[in-house]
Point group: C2
């Protein structure tokens, strides 16, 4: 795993880039439609307050501003250079910038890593300049940035055109320029104001992770929307996400694609079930990030976050003027993981008294009758929030809320409600002319046309609330670097020893080196045993006939010792046997699989799933980055679809999930402690016995990392 050690302070280092006092535009053009002309026009039109120095060796002035033949002639220290020159002279241009003490550069130019090996080599030179000189570089091959507080519109995207908002709370950070500006355009069309749009392009220096960290600390940013195709520096991302969580700033993340590395790492059986996209899922889950699939989902959530209310519970109260829509909302809330808790009985009686036709349980169906006397709505809604104690409420009013007879009295009721319950997250589902809808928004409510979109969004905010409340904190403090694993393949017996030391329960076993020892072991256990060929080169023991199960007697064990060895030798002649493991058969319990894989980006992750066909047929597995504690392990266990199986089905007893959780947490500590020397762990099956009886690994393999990878 690569760890970054840039000399400069990462986050505060972005200030010259985002809030420059003096800007040079290298390759500045008089043509306002060209790449080198647009940012200059945008800054002029928007009223950028700093100095602007066009650089163009062929002109005295550019767009009416005095031009300079090179960055070396610019008379003032430059905070940020916008570079809009052909790829082949970018390296020299940035060398010049670095020599002149320019603090940051935005490289629009394309023709780098995205076009193949030659471009990649050039890009590495840019990275080297950044590292050596401290010049911070955004790009190359990026669409630049928009920084609203400074009115610094350093982009050639047409989204820079025309609309120069006051800054808002949303920072958009995107690897893709086209997507980042699309996101901004959609946000703008919704009236959702942004603080920054930063597109990172090829990321020769500044990456999405660093920008998130910066935004997490920037006072003017309250909400972070990020788009990435891949993250190179996992630990840096995690650090930024931790910072965002600590500062209670929601991060909404669209991560597309599945990394090549993940697929390549699919070596062991466990790992082949992975695909590092699931690791991203795990990271996002662990750090309270909402992973969105679509632009609308992302911006719905960003919009709702502008209310700054992050509920700590998931109880949702639903108010409707249509019984049918009430059911639709309840169905959908349930699907989104929200709890449509019924109103307390006493409160239901009060509601019923106020409005006899109303259905008071939750959803509270006021019927359209409510509009005859809107004070009833206020009364009902107050009873709901007061006695139902809902964390979130969604009220469906549709176009009725825009009727001229309704607006004023409804707002009056809603105003006093808002005053009384300032901390509750309340959505109104309504539609009407923009100026009417704006009045409800101004009254402190979130408005959506579609009640289901409001509900899905509410669920996301509940997720942030839980994460901010510290429920997401998962790191135990007793994980520390441990002795390196050996630089050689480990046998099952070696693996056992290591895992037992790590606190993972492994079935009692003996190693036998002769028929006599095998018989003695079987006799010592006094019950049927399993016999398995041992040796670091046997990876598929069953397939080569190296396993005998249900060996009933010591005599059988004596006889089978030779058979097992001989079959293994025959099928895998080059492998060196190292005894035969004899272990008692374990009856009953639920078979699960525990595993570790070391993700090239994020480091060690623990996998958990049900064993046998479940994992193959349903791919019902979950991942978490290591290390984590018992609470997170419990969340993993309840996070698989087949979790019910561990609660006891068909009259079977509930399983010892406490023992399972302890083992998962122990495995995660082991994985974290050996991150640098571990390739993978595969514990399959890990049998969870009935409650109180523990859990036990029946087979296990620890694969150390080869020396060349260390």
């Amino acid at each position: 795993m690569q760890r970054d050690s840039r000399p400069h302070d990462r986050h505060d280092g972005l200030r010259p880039l985002l809030e420059p006092a003096a800007v040079a535009i290298i390759g500045a053009s008089d043509d306002e439609a060209r790449i080198g002309g647009r940012p200059l026009r945008y800054m002029r039109e928007a009223g950028f307050s700093g100095s602007i120095y066009p650089v163009n060796p062929n002109r005295e002035t550019v767009q009416g501003i005095k031009a300079y033949p090179s960055i070396r002639e610019v008379p003032e220290p430059v905070d940020c250079a916008i570079v809009a020159v052909p790829a082949k002279i970018v390296v020299q241009t940035l060398e010049d910038c670095a020599a002149m003490g320019v603090k940051s550069a935005i490289v629009f130019s394309s023709g780098f890593a995205e076009v193949g090996a030659k471009g990649e080599a050039m890009q590495m030179r840019l990275s080297a300049i950044a590292k050596r000189s401290g010049l911070r570089i955004l790009g190359p091959n990026c669409l630049g940035l928009l920084s609203f507080k400074s009115r610094f519109f350093a982009t050639f995207s047409s989204t820079g055109d025309g609309v120069y908002f006051e800054p808002g709370p949303l920072a958009i950070i995107s690897q893709s320029g086209a997507y980042g500006t699309h996101l901004y355009a959609v946000a703008r069309s919704w009236g959702l104001r942004v603080s920054h749009v930063i597109t990172t392009g090829n990321e020769c220096d500044i990456d999405v992770a660093e920008c998130i960290g910066w935004a997490a600390e920037a006072e003017e940013v309250k909400i972070i929307a990020t788009y990435a195709e891949g993250i190179k520096d996992g630990p840096a991302l995690i650090k930024s996400l931790e910072l965002a969580r600590a500062n209670k700033k929601p991060v909404i993340f669209i991560k597309v694609g599945r990394s090549e590395e993940g697929a390549a790492a699919a070596a062991s059986h466990t790992a082949s079930l992975a695909g590092s996209d699931e690791i991203y899922d795990a990271v996002f889950r662990q750090y309270g990030v909402h992973r969105a699939d679509t632009t609308e989902e992302m911006l719905d959530i960003a919009y709702a976050c502008t209310a700054g209310i992050y509920p700590t519970g998931n109880k949702i109260g639903l108010v409707t003027i249509s019984g049918g829509v009430g059911v639709q909302m309840a169905d959908y809330a349930n699907k989104c993981g929200l709890h449509v808790a019924p109103m307390p009985e006493a409160a239901q009686k009060k509601l019923k008294a106020a409005l006899p036709f109303a259905s008071p349980r939750n959803p509270v169906d006021c019927t359209a009758q409510i509009f005859n006397d809107l004070s009833l709505l206020g009364t009902n809604f107050t009873i709901m929030l007061d006695e139902g104690k809902y964390d979130v409420a969604v009220a469906f009013f549709t176009i009725a809320a825009a009727s001229p007879y309704i607006v004023e009295p409804l707002l009056k009721e809603l105003d006093s409600l808002r005053e009384r319950f300032p901390g509750r997250l309340i959505f109104l589902s309504l539609m009407g002319p923009p100026e009417i809808v704006a009045r409800y928004r101004d009254a402190g409510y979130l408005t959506f046309v579609d009640p289901c979109r409001a509900i899905a969004t509410a669920a996301a905010l509940v997720g942030f609330g839980e994460s901010f409340a510290g429920k997401g904190k998962t790191i135990p403090d007793d994980a520390r670097p441990a002795e390196a694993l050996p630089v050689r393949a480990m046998s099952e017996w070696d693996s056992r020893e290591v895992l037992v030391c790590a606190g993972i329960p492994v079935v009692e076993a003996k190693i036998a080196n002769s028929p006599k020892e095998a018989a003695a072991a079987a006799a010592a256990f006094g019950r049927p045993v399993a016999m398995k060929i041992n040796g670091s080169e046997f990876s598929h023991k069953t397939e080569i006939g190296g396993v005998e199960l249900d060996v009933a007697t010591p005599d059988d064990a004596r006889r089978l010792y030779g058979l097992v060895r001989n079959r293994a030798k025959e099928q895998a002649p080059s492998a060196q046997p190292d005894g035969v493991i004899v272990a008692p058969m374990i009856d009953g319990g639920v078979e699960t699989i525990l595993g570790v894989q070391v993700d090239p980006v994020f480091g060690p992750a623990v996998m958990f799933g049900l064993g046998g066909v479940f994992v193959e047929v349903f791919q019902d597995v979950v991942f978490r980055l290591a290390p984590f504690g018992r609470d997170e392990a419990m969340k993993m266990i309840s996070g698989i679809k087949g979790a019910k199986l561990l609660q006891g089905v068909r009259g079977g007893p509930p399983s010892d999930v406490d023992a399972l959780a302890d083992a998962l947490a122990a495995l995660s500590r082991f994985a974290a402690s050996h991150a640098d020397t571990l390739d993978s762990v595969d514990i399959n099956p890990f049998t969870v016995l009935p409650k109180g009886q523990g859990a036990v690994a029946l087979d296990c393999l620890v694969v150390p990392k080869g020396l060349e990878e260390r």
Copy 2:
């Protein structure tokens, strides 16, 4: 199951309601804001072309039109009476209407079945009037209807206000008035034109199913959007859905809530897994209906259906100016069940030649470079559609498409593309001022801001295309009514006999009535057997010790005969044993469950799932209405999440799914033939052996319907 037998022709009977030549408004009000005043105002303002007769005993004129003291005084035959009077005089009013030969009535009045028993009784009188006289009644407790061709705006909803569109292709049919008008308001705000909005309210006569059937036949309707909380007449709905499919009209359906009846019917183990919401799912799947969850999903699809293009394949081609968005689209298309097929190699070469930077596989990433020469876009897109033969294409242009430099040349390319491939479904993801977006729509393209919404919508249209192409046709023609099942509980042995006759493979077995017969049976099978107490009153045989598995020898069988009988007698003293079933043990195979339940609304449905813990833990079951053929059975089998298990996992052989499909189809014919006398069937386990070896029921129970239910 109730079957309707109204005397009047169901569908054409709605013409007087929807296209009346003469309308009476009973309870007409001079106050334009009141329930009896609004429809009159709307009709006047919209220019309803027929005669209007306000009925109000207290006024000479209403809103300037001559009024009549009662419906009996109206001088012309009336096609439709709008009834806006208090509930208590509705019965008399409708009696008067019927007496005067009024053809239809729309009853706004509330206070019927929705308020309890007394209202229900009144509503039954309305139903009786309709049945007896042929007066067709919409409502009561409904918001009326909007019929755009006739400019007949018979509603008191404020949605009737102000905007009187030309008719469009979309019929909105909703039980809920509030939701139906909300749907209409959203459609209107999107510029999506509608033909009708019909709200059916309490459905004392006209129901959603009939309206769908009518819309399926009405020439002006091309798309049907329906909302219902529950359907009373399943066969009528199915008939209407068949009609819509035959006429290639897509039906998009929001069905909320789960019926009480379904829960109550949860008697047998199989049935308890059901819940009739799953039956709705089955019906919608079988009849090609798209079940939507939200308003936006419904209207996105309705909008896309205005293109009238229903692809018959699911290959999607993706064009993008942003590589990242390409990946996002591909991820999402895959999630939606579309096939992101790669371009043929030769075509990829051509694309690469035209645009060296482009990624030509699919998604085809043209990069923003395309805008330097838009003819390349035309070239690329043509190659894609021509050689890639995609059924659907989505192109992501975002705001770039609205740039003044781009609009004209892009439209030029798109115009010739549209001309060349008129039958392909093509979506553009773009945004900009409405007048610019309108130009792309006018050029014959569907436009969406969010590419993922376009993709989800495309998937729905592919579903319609497959259904219209007849792939959804499932009914075999060899299912006919059969002999009634007995009016008594059936034993396992009885059930066997019946199912064997129905063509379902059941394990060979003998019934033993003495220890000697048991031994003889075991000897005859010559292998280990299972022994089970038989009798119509033993429902949980295992629990009462009435089952012995793996009985190894005839001697064991002899000995265990008495034991099995005695235990059963002891545990269930009141139950009468009827011999002991002896059947050979079957090794291997995959355990599945087959079942039948008779839904109170839709009749018999067949259930299929994996056996054992799968069904309990994953609830991995599918349903289909009976009867169906082999093809539909195959779809059921591949429709469960664990379908992979039948293909052979962990080196196991693939299962004999042909035999399984035959059994499902046979069971469906059995269920359909005995619809009137069957309560449920439970075949568990139904073991599917390796390919070529068939499949076999190991345990089964047929439960006939009690006489009182027949």
